[in-house]
């Protein structure tokens, strides 16, 4: 088993992600979008909470499996700064709902469908993430 995050592992993991997205469509008829599925679990106006809960339970179970077999794949967070984590979490939560998707729904499923919205969103969030890392790493000199 190659080291998680090495190029062969990235390719294999990416293939599994693609297979999961295709299986989602074949079995349930839906796109695999984590932010939409997760947000719908707690949204006041929502549907199909049971299916959302089962999907997320599958993800958490998968996480436990990864933690057992490849503990180095789950090193935790990059910082212990609560302020930093809260700001980042709020931006990710609010932004993915406002933009209608995240890395899975726009990045994987949307690009696979050649959706112009998803291609645009993916280019924007990748570019802004790169600028953010540039600023935090090379302008302000690292995160707390």
């Amino acid at each position: 088993m190659p080291e998680p995050g090495s190029i062969p592992a990235a390719l294999a993991g990416g293939a599994l992600i693609g297979i999961a997205a295709v299986a989602m469509l074949a079995l349930t008829g839906r796109v695999l979008g984590v932010s939409g599925i997760a947000a719908g679990l707690i949204a006041p106006r929502s549907s199909d909470r049971g299916a959302r809960a089962l999907f997320l339970a599958g993800m958490l179970t998968g996480g436990v499996l990864v933690g057992r077999l490849l503990p180095q794949a789950l090193p935790g967070a990059i910082t212990s700064s609560t302020l930093w984590l809260v700001v980042a979490g709020l931006l990710v939560g609010f932004g993915t709902r406002l933009g209608g998707g995240c890395t899975s729904g726009h990045g994987v499923c949307g690009i696979s469908r050649l959706s112009p919205r998803s291609i645009t969103a993916t280019l924007v969030f990748m570019a802004v993430a790169m600028v953010t890392v540039f600023v935090t790493r090379h302008v302000i000199g690292g995160i707390p």
Partner: protein, 145 residues
Amino acid sequence: MRGLSFFLVGLLFAVGLGISGMTQPTKVIGFLDVAGSWDPALMFVMGGAVVIGFFGYRFVLRRPAPFFAPAFDLPTRRDIDARLFGGAALFGAGWGLAGFCPGPALVALASGSSDVVTFVVAMFVGFLAQDLVARPAAPGTPARA
């Protein structure tokens, strides 16, 4: 069977994320650090996923319907509006700050790290905040993500 499908797809997806390196924020930041010592490995995650997704979707959509639902339920919007830009930009900023996007953050909960819990709780507050302030979603907007 439909419920089991959601569970198993979620499990497979999480294992893929773990193997891929997406659950390691340092790795993600290294990929996003194009001006520093850029680590290209994670490009292969999206590459692998999209190649399989592109051909797999075409193959599956030749069927009249999914196995456990009456019809395919795919997003239909094609307009590019300010919300799409603004939302993607805010998301990108958060992703760049923490190195977590939603899926990997949920998988990383299994690390037992309270810092990951902090991020995930804030992310759910962000979901809820947007749902509360936003205009009602267009009818039939499917779960996506």
